[in-house]
């Protein structure tokens, strides 16, 4: 084999292995009995562990192959690791929920697995065609996961809504891409950067195309004002898919956006910083303000997901290595706490006449189910960013990166926003600990939900108490 051929293989081997494992999952799904479909998910976790071990990062090495199209380096690995965490936690916690709703099917896990492949391509793309193909793979999987509970009208609505808005945003993105291609003559990140240095950056064609492309990105990370789909989709989707959808696609879009800005748009970085700064401020503030008014905890978490996306965007504004290191760390922490929170949310069953996820269902849970209340308390405190827990470390790192870039106004707004967010997370805890139960609520944590929330809570506490280890780990990987 020529060195070039070896390089090509090295640049893509984790994705190839993942695809092969995904195909094995499809076959396994056919071979397992109906009541044992969760095996497919567990095999998926095993496959992910194997791939993580095989693809362990070549720190400092960069495999760029297929005519500078795909890149496998430690950056791609870190984001792959986030998707692997999201997949594993969701799978472990989903079994009992899916069984109760009669939708325990192997396809749930297969599709989620293939979405991870799409997300890996998104992050490791060095060419807009690869990025777009990966993004569509992820997006189609997400439409299916959102509408997976087809007997439930809300879930179908979520699927269709997501599909239409997603197709629409893809159209906008592609339209922008044609303009950028017209202005720079290439879809390769490196060649775009070269063309921008050569003067294409000041053309109207490029600017207009870039705005449309960034709007497409903003749709995917549900940044305000491109967020309208997010609350309905997250609320309507089956709770495990909602947990996965708030974490993994967002991290993928974020990772791809950072790489795109860092490599291709490097010559126009200053112009972008202001754009992302304004976007981050609007997104955070809007997400938090609307979440304040929600009485449905699932919808509240959906709006809080928008606010968290805004917080992650803040890391992008600083345009320094600390910025994207903090975004990756934030995404890892967010995966643990948000999927944990969604898993616990999925086990609440209100026997009264109101929705399971209403705030009133949580009243007095500390007396009837103290363990459940304690778990929820940890996740809510962490999401709010209360100091000894992981959420605080994530927010702290992002704000530090912003301070380092001397964007004090942004850091202050970020700090104010996390104070604002405390209110609605605390409200859940207050309902659980200081209110008398109003309805008969069954919040028995099933074994699968227990495992996920236990891992999530332990990790949230571990990262919170030993932040240096994790921060340094991310920093060495993302030099």
């Amino acid at each position: 084999m020529t060195p070039q051929a070896i390089m090509n293989l090295l640049s893509i081997y984790p994705e190839v292995i993942m695809t092969m494992f995904g195909l094995i999952l499809v076959v396994l799904d056919v071979m397992t009995k109906n009541e044992k479909k969760s095996m497919v998910g567990y095999f998926g976790i095993a496959f992910l562990v194997i791939t993580v071990l095989i693809a362990w990062p070549p720190v400092g090495k960069k495999f760029l192959g297929f005519g500078n199209m795909v890149m496998w380096d430690s950056y791609s690995f870190v984001f792959f690791f986030i998707f692997a965490i999201a997949y594993s936690l969701t799978t472990l916690g989903s079994v009992s929920y899916l069984k109760e709703n009669g939708i325990l099917k192997g396809e749930f896990y297969t599709i989620m697995f293939f979405s991870v492949v799409g997300m890996m391509f998104m992050v490791s793309a060095y060419d807009l065609t690869v990025f777009y193909a990966g993004m569509e793979t992820m997006a189609i999987s997400m439409y299916i996961l959102a509408g997976f509970n087809k007997k439930c009208a809300r879930s179908s609505e979520a699927g269709i809504k997501y599909f239409i808005i997603g197709a629409f945003s893809s159209g906008i993105f592609l339209y922008g891409l044609t303009f950028v291609y017209g202005a720079t003559g290439s879809m390769n990140y490196l060649e775009i950067a070269a063309a921008l240095k050569g003067g294409a950056a000041s053309t109207t064609t490029f600017k207009f195309g870039l705005v449309l492309m960034l709007a497409g990105f903003a749709f995917k990370i549900s940044a305000v004002p491109f967020h309208m789909w997010a609350p309905d989709v997250y609320q309507g989707a089956p709770t495990p898919s909602a947990g996965f959808m708030t974490v993994a696609p967002k991290a993928a879009a974020m990772g791809a956006l950072i790489r795109f800005c860092w490599i291709a748009l490097e010559p126009v970085g200053n112009m972008l910083a202001l754009f992302f700064g304004i976007l981050a401020v609007i997104t955070m503030t809007y997400g938090n303000l609307v979440a304040l008014a929600q009485n449905n905890v699932k919808r509240m978490l959906a709006y809080s997901a928008i606010a968290h996306a805004g917080f992650m965007l803040m890391g992008l504004v600083s345009m320094n290595p600390e910025g994207y290191q903090s975004v990756a760390l934030y995404a890892i922490i967010y995966a643990f706490m948000n999927i944990g929170a969604f898993t616990l949310l999925g086990v609440v069953k209100n026997k009264g006449m109101i929705d399971d996820e209403r705030l009133e269902s949580f009243a007095g849970l500390s007396k009837t189910n103290p363990m459940y209340a304690l778990g929820m308390l940890i996740f809510m405190f962490s999401l709010a960013g209360i100091p000894p827990l992981a959420g605080f470390i994530g927010k702290f790192q992002v704000i530090m990166a912003t301070m380092k870039a001397e964007l004090y106004w942004l850091a202050i707004i970020g700090g104010l926003n996390s104070a604002l967010a405390c209110y609605y997370y605390m409200r859940v805890t207050i309902y659980m600990y200081f209110k008398e139960p109003e309805y008969e609520v069954d919040a028995t944590v099933s074994r699968s939900a227990f495992i996920t929330s236990f891992i999530g809570a332990v990790m949230v506490i571990l990262i919170g108490f030993f932040p240096t280890f994790f921060v340094n780990l991310v920093k060495t990987l993302l030099v």
């Binding site: 099917k105 799409g118 777009y132 569509e136």
Partner: protein, 170 residues
Amino acid sequence: MNAILANIGFWVLGITAVVSALFLVTRENPVHSALWMLLTFFCVAGIFVQLDAEFIAAIQVMVYAGAILVLYMFVVMLLNPKSKGFIKMPFKVILGGIVSFIVFLQIIMTLMGADIIKTTKLTGINDPNQLGNVKLFCIDLFTKYIVPFEIVSIMLLVAMIGAIVIAKKD
């Protein structure tokens, strides 16, 4: 003379495409809309022919006019939607109109001063001695763009599995 003819052809096709697109969004009967859409597709295919992209033109007619439009017609016939006229939300209609008008103006302004780089990648498509349109397209597709091509195959697999899951009776 040739250039003038090509110009006339472009204007005729372009104006027909825009006008039929306008009819497409304003008709109340969905079947009429679909037929206007067919005309739009054909006009766009004609423009592609003028740009020496016969392959894209053929694909445009086959996939859009042939497959997708038939799919639309099936859905329209199956659902038989009763038109309720325009949505009764004057505020949103006005707001949407203003926003789309601004975007439209921006597109026009961008295209007026467009400085599109002339890529040399598809030279030789006019030269009969060179490779044909389809061949050139496919050589790029299966060498340079092989990775995205393979990712699309994964995407189609996912879409197929998903369609079965959603549509299958339990």
